[in-house]
Symmetry: C2
Subunit: 84 residues, 2 copies
């Protein structure tokens, strides 16, 4: 695997894992007032398209990163709807 | 431009623009308590790497999308630091 692909995997790991602390904070504090629902609805839709894009270009790292991000952003949307 | 690239551009437009409502909400309400700083620091770092990756593979859409996302996530981090 060349250096550029390794860079892509590290970038994917960082941007994907970054949602974990937000999911944790939202569900632990049961407070999501400051989180923008509009952002996460747009973001979620975009990530679904990135997943389809990743499948279309047969990029395993994009498929994995976006599949995980879809699940994580779903939990943030769920927390936002539950704890207005 | 083929259908897959158009899909990528739409995905990039959605995920990039999704941060605008969060920037607006944070600065308008002057309240960021529910926003995870850890998330945005990880995310910001990841997006910088995605920008370098986009430059390395000469992908204009990745360069534009990630450059804009860097600016938008910077404003969210700034709001988080200013309005603990």
């Amino acid at each position: 695997m060349d250096k550029i692909e390794i860079l892509g995997l590290i970038a994917a790991a960082l941007t994907t894992s970054s949602f974990v602390p937000q999911v944790y904070k939202a569900w632990k504090q049961k407070s999501t007032k400051d989180i923008s629902l509009t952002m996460y609805l747009f973001f979620f839709t975009g990530i679904v398209l990135w997943l389809i894009y990743g499948i279309a270009i047969d990029s395993l790292s994009m498929i994995i990163a976006n599949a995980i991000t879809i699940v994580l952003s779903f939990f943030i949307i769920a927390a936002k709807l539950k704890y207005k």
